[in-house]
Symmetry: C2
Subunit: 402 residues, 2 copies
Amino acid sequence: MISIEDARSLIHSQLFTPKPAFVELENSQNYFLAEDINSDRDYPPFNRAAVDGYAVRFSDIDSGLKTFHIAAEIYSGEGFDQIVEPGRCIKIMTGAALPQGFDILFKVEHCEVLDDVVAIPEDEIKKGLNISQRGENVKKGEIIIQKGTRVDEKIVHSLAAAGIYSVPVFSLPRVHIISTGNEIVAVNKQPSDFQIRDSNYFGLAFQLAKFNIKPESHQLLGDDKQEIRDGISTAIGGDILILSGGVSMGDRDFVPEILTELGVEKVFHKVNIKPGKPFWFGRLYHKDLNKTTFVFALPGNPFSTLVTYKIFIEPWLYACFQNPGLKHYFMPIVHEKKLKDDRPEYFPVKLILSGQVSSVEALRFHGSGDITATAGSDGLAFFSGNKLELVKGDPVEFIPWN
Amino acid sequence: MISIEDARSLIHSQLFTPKPAFVELENSQNYFLAEDINSDRDYPPFNRAAVDGYAVRFSDIDSGLKTFHIAAEIYSGEGFDQIVEPGRCIKIMTGAALPQGFDILFKVEHCEVLDDVVAIPEDEIKKGLNISQRGENVKKGEIIIQKGTRVDEKIVHSLAAAGIYSVPVFSLPRVHIISTGNEIVAVNKQPSDFQIRDSNYFGLAFQLAKFNIKPESHQLLGDDKQEIRDGISTAIGGDILILSGGVSMGDRDFVPEILTELGVEKVFHKVNIKPGKPFWFGRLYHKDLNKTTFVFALPGNPFSTLVTYKIFIEPWLYACFQNPGLKHYFMPIVHEKKLKDDRPEYFPVKLILSGQVSSVEALRFHGSGDITATAGSDGLAFFSGNKLELVKGDPVEFIPWN
């Protein structure tokens, strides 16, 4: 049995290396960038009016001028090539480009205007007032978004602004999923009194959907060696194979044995973690194809499946896409909590927001079969110290679901 | 100009009421449940072995027995109808159903087995040991997931476990999006020196995609009254219309005027918020159809669009789906920060995780045109007090992007 840290570093010692590809901007959500994105021009691309108002030359004010004739109007989207005599101002709208030399802009509501003469407010004379300077946000050629960044609702603004309509992203791994267990039936079938429904497939599929990954196949296999052998054989050609069930110590837990038989190199089996101890990880190198299939075999209890995906597979997937992954937070726990044994234990928690500092509350929870406990939770918490009773205020690591 | 609180309560005073519909479980991700979900049976549905081991009757131990002959083996998924004589044990695998009367289960690795005789460990005699009791997580008929809950990777486990293959969800609103401004060009076109690209459409579309909403149309309109009038007319028949640009005080900010002309009742225009002051909200009641179109007109600066969507539209959408929405967190700020004026100001922040308590750091930020500043951010922060200089440790409200 190895530690969580050792398990994680063994998993991370080899990454799936996704090939670069291009997707259209409107289809790029949740993909990861395969290249740094550089700005195609300064941003703002011109000295930009930040308000509606009157633009003058600072030098004119310096010469003592306080009122200005309106020489022209400029609207956003327009160029301007007139010559404006000294001592005159320009009416300009938010978003428009200031002409060369006009370097101070007064808000329309701060000026007094009589016919076409504008009196400027004398208490806010400052070069550059209300003007976003060309290139003040980004200079042409500068990296605006780094490789490995996930395209989301904020990033898409920058991609669009830079004119990246065809987005360089990492292509997705081919993933196969297998659920095992005689006690498992498909969700749309009626279970016997001794069976439960296959929720793990949907849990895993929804997790992977957050990476835009759609599993190529899903099988539900009984606890029968030949059935498992045949099932795995058809699913082992992709990039990632995720199994649930059949990895523990029972007489019909055939998965580790059959994976080994099929040539998958075991990297480790069993981790000092609760829940999820029977977690199995291995790799199959296909010499003919010069590629590796990564095999994760998770314990079949739904909560164990969820935790081991979250703790081992999800961070590895982020790493494969060159992304640092979800942040973990340190927060105090609001009530005492007994831990069950000396394995590092993950439990579902809710965030609590009363007071100035946030904290987490452990939810009523019946152990690894109790999937409903996670329904109202915001994430998992984890205590890394070595005591078995947490007291109010003890800091725990909080891992948000999203 | 009204306060953020008043704006929010005016927006929330009328909700879009989505009709219930059914989607298949595998397509239900990110939908909101239109009904409470009840458990179709106890969960676990039987007294379930939590480990691989040997099950005995507690009464036999009470009578002084310490060793037991193995009478049978039970695997998961199997029923059992043999009669087992007193003083005998059953070998049972994780996930299998314990037969009537067997109420204590010893882990296989804690027992000594010689031929078919098992000696139980004497230091852990406790009725119910290693058994998940039928119904301990959920009783048949109990509500396991409430109406309004978003279907995610945890909830899908419970839906699957309860056999909900056809999921009752709220249908989605029909949304139209319009970007306005002579300075705006489509992302796949080359802007002139005085133009910028239309990033707001993609920003809004990606926000809505998180609700599975796909806009029915998108228009990019110049600052021309007739063009705007025609454009809005074709987009006003849906449930929600979101515009960006053209709502400020400029001479060509025609949007509010034209919305009123077209019969949209203005609920308010201008909010005491930075950025986003020119935000406009109204409703059009279609008498013939007995339905309302909700109209949100956002300022066109990308950051202003992002903030006003996040602060006003997103919470309203959650409310329409009967969901409480994203949690806000209170956290200390790590550095001093000057606020720009007396409007309540939203600024992009990064989470900082050093130390036992999390905090937020304000990012370098050039104001509402500076969309790149949000790229590395984890959310928005907001200080609700009335001072203009925050000092290290001042609590701010943190609104995560997700």
